[in-house]
Each structure stands twice: as C-alpha cells, then as structure tokens.
Amino acid sequence: MLRQIEGSRAVAETVALCRPEVVCAYPISPQTHIIEAVGAMVKAGTLAPCEFINVESEFAAMSVSIGASAAGARAYTATASQGLLFMLEAVYNASGLGLPIVMTLANRAIGAPINIWNDHSDAMAARDTGWIQLFAETNQEAADLHVQAFRLAEELSVPVMVCMDGFILTHAVEGVDLMTQDEVDSFLPPYEPRQVLDPDDPVSIGAMVGPEAFEEVRYLAHLRQLDALALIPSIADSFAVLTGRDSGGLVHPYRTDDAEVIVVALGSVLGTIKDAVDARRAQGERLGVLGITTFRPFPRDAVRDALAGASRVVVVEKAFSLGGEGVVLTDVAMALAGRDVALHNVIAGLGGRPITQGAIDSMLGRASTGDLGRLTFLDLDESAVSRERSRIAAARRTGPSAENVLYDRATQGSRVAQEQS
C-alpha cells in the first residue's frame, strides 16, 4: 500500500512485519524515530509477541541482541555513528558467533568534532566486522532491504546491517509502498537457528579457539560472505517477483551501457547524481551511474562488469580514510585492477554538507575536460583551511582547530555578507 510516510516510520513498520521477537533500543540521532515507532507498536500490542528492551548503551543493545539471537529469537536493533563505535566489540562478536541479527544503521558522521549529520564514516568503520552491509538509495529501498536482510541473515547465519542515510532518508517524508503481512510472511519464513541455547540439547557457544582452528573458523566466515554474493541477487530476484520492485541486489547500474564516464556511489546521493547525469546526457555526454547496494561483501566482479565500458570512473563517497583515500575507491580500484581506466575520488557530504546537483555537475564538467584530479574534496573551503594552517604555523598555543575553523567560517561569512550589503 502506497503511503506518504517518513523513512524511519516506513522502516519501523516494515521491521514489524518481519516479526522480530526481541528489539533493543538505545537512542541516538538520527535513528530515534525508528526505535520509537517499533517500541510503540510493541507497547500497544500490535507487534506481538515481541520484547522491546530499553537498554543503557549501544554496547548493551548489541549484547542483548546477541543473547536473544543465541537463544533462538529473531533480534533487531538500530543505531548510528558513535553508537556503532560504542558497540563495535559486540558487532564483531555477533558475526564471529554467526548470529543473524539485523540492524539499521542511520548513517551519521563520527566525531570529533561531534556532528549529528549524515555521512558514511560510521558504516566504513564497520567495514571489516563480518557483517553484510546493504546501502539503501531511497526510503522504499530502505524498507524493502530489511525484509531481504532478515532472510539473507537467517539463511547464512550472518548478521546484516541495513545502511540508510541519516536525516536525508530517515527523516524524509515520501511515498513508500509498504508490504502487507501476508507478502512478508510468504517471503520470510520463521527463524530456524543453526545453533541455539537449549537445556534439552546443551551446547557451548563462544569457546576459546586457539591457533589450531582460528584460521579455519575465520575462513569459513569469509566463505559465508562469498555465499552472500550469490544469494543476494537471488533474494532480490524473488523479491522483485513478489513486489515488482528492484530493491536490493549487488549493484544498480544506471545508463551505463554506452557510458564513457561512470560515477560510482552509495546511498541517497545516487538520486542527485542521476539527475546531474541526466542533465549532462541531454547535452550529449555519455555518462552513467553505478550504485553499489551491497558494500560488504564487496561485489568485485559485478562492479568490474558494470564498469567494463568506461574509460573514466569517478567514485563519489561520504567517508575518507585519513592519510589514505576514499574507502570505496580502494575497493573499486581493486575491481578495476589491470584495466586502463582513469580513476577519480570525490569526497563529498562529510558531516552532512549538502551535495548539490550544481556541485556534482561542475565536478562532472571537470571530469569530462580531464581537469578532475585523483582526489577532490567537494565544496571544500580551501581558504579557511589555509588560514588555520597559517595560524598553526605562526604560534604554538593556537587552541582547538575545530573551533578555530567554525569561528573563521562564521566571521568570514558575515564579512562577505557585510561587503555585499
């Protein structure tokens, strides 16, 4: 049923249709609306049987999920940013134990400086946790991915993280076609755990594993990730048969067939990029877009195939490995190993800075004329950076840089406004 609905609400209602049995909640912006809505459904009795537990930290949220999942319950939680980092030890543990927990990550920047707005530095920090990471482009896809995530997680005994851009998606109201209970039930069978804490059949879970077996256990986990590369498209196909929507899968190519330049990105920014590409296509440029829906496991072959015709690839991403380059770029570069292709990295939208169609368009212009460098920080105020660098060079006790830059940007801005008035 098509409804005009907030992204968080759409996810909450879809998660409820998946019949989670234990839901843990610790509030962090911009995830709050999701867990508030699930909590209200449990309290009202419309989502039952389900235990909704208000925990004291994200570390506890993931830990309670671990206990619930190991005892055979379908477990769900949601977090963002600092919350993901605070639970990170348990995030690794959940995948190491092979527990099919599903978690929404309402993508948000990681501090310091503290910042509640969207980027992907949280998801990228959890890149190597052994969780499957799916990125939603729209709220429709965010809702749909959760249904697929539970099925994927439980078939493989691997936890799945559904990433949706904080605020941009979680707080956006738009049309979402919500599934019915019958549809979800037909797609998602009851959870049948591979391992469970049961007095009638006692097992030890989480034993000390030494050098004699650790490598094999980790390799098995890797193989499960590779299994996911095969399973994700087939789940997306089944989902398409059921709903008629192409949510999920490994990648989403857009106008790539004859494209000379292909822009690669994850999440909601794909919409803006597609608009920019459409506009330039109308001018006769051969541009395309590749959305990466499954980031972990990384679909190297699918990316390589989708980029086969491109002579220039631009990876736009909302995270950065300080001292290195973009995290997604590294994976794309490996996918393109041995191919003669110009590769560019554009870091954009850090800490929620708007990524406008204009900025993308201008960047694409530079790409088409060969003026785009290897690494670009989109819309960077280089003058503010150089002024702070000068202050640092000139004196010792220059104070906190973040506050200096804030002050600089604010006062420079008002100076410009004064000059213009």
Binding site: F59, G67, A70, P199
Partner: protein, 346 residues
C-alpha cells in the same frame, strides 16, 4: 530464609558430615544424582576457588530449576579454563560473548525465552570480579534496574587473575598485584578505593542480593536455591580465593575463604528488595592478621620490614564491617590473642 546452621561438632572447619543430616538438609554436592554442570577435566589451577564456586552454584541452580538452566559467561578464567576444545566442561547450555557484556547477553537470552513462552528455562549469568565490578558494571547495572529475569553470580577473586594478577576495583587495600606493586611507602593497593558491589546491587532494590564464600557449601547452595525461587534481577557475590593471585597454598582455599568471613573482611549476608534480611554471624572471630599471613600478596606487611600500621588499617575495615552488618553476636567466640594468631599460621 537462611536455615539455621547445623552445628553438630567442629574440628576447626565447622564442616558437618552430610550423613548426619536429614536428606533434605544435605548439600546438592553430596547427592550422587546431582548434575555435573561444570564437569571434571577442566584446566583450572589446583585449589581454584572459582571452579569450586561455579560448580557449587550451578549445580544448586540446576537442582532448583529442574535442570532447566542456560548460562552466560563473561570472558575470564572461568571461560578460559572450561573451554579449551575439543573439551568443554559445560553440561549446561553455555554462551560466552565478551568480557563486559555478560549481564546484557543474559538479558537477551531471558527476553528470548520469555517471548517464546519458555519461562521454565532460567538464566544464570557468571563473571569474575573484573567482568562484574569493572568492565561489566554498566551492563550489570542496566540489567539490575530493568529487573531482568537473570541470576547474576560474581566469582570474586579480587583481581584480574586470568591476565596475570592485576588490580581490579575489587582488589582490597594493601594487596600486592602486578599493577599495585609492594613497593614505596604505601605498598600494594591503595586505601580508600574500590567498589562494594553487593551494596551497589542493593541500591537497585532488586529482589535478592547475597554474598557467600566457598567455605560454606550449605550457605552458598541455599542462597542459590533461594535466588532461583525468585524472579527478576538477582545477584550473588561469592568470594573465591585464588591460590595463584593471592599467593596462598592450594590446600588452603577453603581455609582462606573462611578466614575472610570470620575476620569480618568479607561480610556474608543476604538482602531482599534493598534491605539486609540476614547475616551469617562470625562463629569464631579471627584477626585479619590470621587471614593476611596465609597470602603472599600481603607478605610485605610482615617479614623483615613489618607494617603493623597497615595491618591495623585493615583490621579497622574488618571492624567496620562487623559493626555495619552486626556480624558478631552472643555466640561468637572472642577474637584470639595476637600471639595465638602467629601460632596458628606458622
């Protein structure tokens, strides 16, 4: 609820032969048909108090719950010595996740059992003192305040023994550990620090809080069995001497635990809904020196450069406990003379 202690005879140990007791007063451990929740063949050190405590507590919990018990274990000695595969010592469903999250994991297990209508299956969480008073404190307090249906047991050996005997917030003053060395003017762990977890647990107004030692099997088992008759968050704090970390003889584990109680350094009591409901009075009051001298972690207080001033401060702590909990009553035998203490321990 504590049954009146049986006092047929004593040989210095207060031990009572089970054969002299009625069947219903005999310990779980004396029952040939009891479970082996943690089975033999594990790799604990000789004289390990924690292995003993875990065995006592879990077998009692198993009997109380008709064998329907799931356990969650924090990282630590208990986890490490019990599961070097291909052997696991656990004959109960057992889950180890992390060091600091056992209470939260136990909450999750309890929630899953409740949602599945399997409330006959009971959840017991276990950790050492590090996993309880330090790194697991946040999740433990959360589990307490939500009143989750978990019995959490702390096996307190007063330090991080698994990593090589470092200080925890349960390490007593003056004790030597690898991070509170017996050097300088104030050797060993400092005074005025540390956490009294049973009292903190009581402040959560949870259904049941109790302390026990491995020296009194009857008392320990009764407390576990009573805890299993209740629902909601429950906490039992068991003192488990560590021969390795304390520098005590393997054969002295029970003796050291008893002296901790009989000196007043480790008050044994129980509380329901935030109020103390019973204490185990001291039978024969011991000087702290009698307890300290058995342990090399206090060796710097005696020997060539004795520190009677520090021993006196430890005695003050014991006396304060005795006053706070009323551990001495009319039947308590007097504290022995100091000369007699030296006689006893040498």
């Amino acid at each position: 609820m504590t049954k009146r202690p049986v006092r047929f005879y004593q040989v210095g140990s207060f031990a009572v032969g089970n054969r002299l007791l009625a069947d219903d007063q005999r310990t779980v451990q004396s029952d040939p048909n009891r479970t082996n929740s943690i089975d033999s063949g594990h790799r604990a050190c000789q004289g390990c108090g924690e292995a003993l405590g875990a065995r006592y507590a879990l077998d009692a919990a198993m009997r109380a719950a008709g064998g329907r018990v799931v356990t969650v274990n924090a990282t630590g000695c208990l986890e490490v010595f019990s599961t070097p595969y291909p052997e696991t010592s656990w004959r109960v469903p057992w889950l180890h996740s992390l060091f600091g999250n056992a209470p939260a994991v136990a909450t999750g297990v309890a929630a899953a059992l409740r949602v599945k209508g399997r409330e006959d299956v009971r959840v017991v969480g276990q950790a050492g003192d590090g996993g309880t008073v330090d790194i697991g404190f946040g999740t433990l307090s959360g589990m307490f305040e939500r009143n989750d249906d978990v019995l959490f047991i702390c096996y307190d050996n007063e330090g991080y023994m698994n990593t090589g005997v470092q200080r925890s917030a349960a390490t007593p003053p003056a004790a030597r550990t690898a991070t509170t060395d017996a050097v300088g003017p104030e050797p060993g762990n400092v005074f005025g620090q540390g956490k009294d977890l049973p009292r903190i647990a009581m402040a959560h107004d949870i259904a049941y809080v109790a302390t026990a030692t491995v020296a009194d099997l009857h008392d320990l088992e009764q407390k576990v069995e009573h805890a299993m008759t209740l629902r909601g968050a429950r906490y039992i704090h068991i003192l488990v001497p560590c021969p390795l970390g304390w520098g005590s003889a393997s054969s002295d584990t029970i003796r050291v635990a008893r002296l901790a109680k009989e000196s007043g350094l480790f008050p044994v009591f129980e509380a329901e809904n935030g109020r103390v409901t019973s204490v185990s009075p001291i039978r024969r009051r011991a000087r702290v020196e009698e307890y300290l001298r058995l342990q090399r972690r206090y060796a710097h207080l005696f020997g060539a450069h004795p520190r009677p001033d520090i021993v006196a401060r430890l005695q003050d702590i014991a006396d304060e406990n005795i006053a706070r909990y009323g551990l001495v009553n009319d039947e308590t035998e007097d504290v022995p003379a100091l000369e007699d203490v030296k006689e006893m321990v040498h």
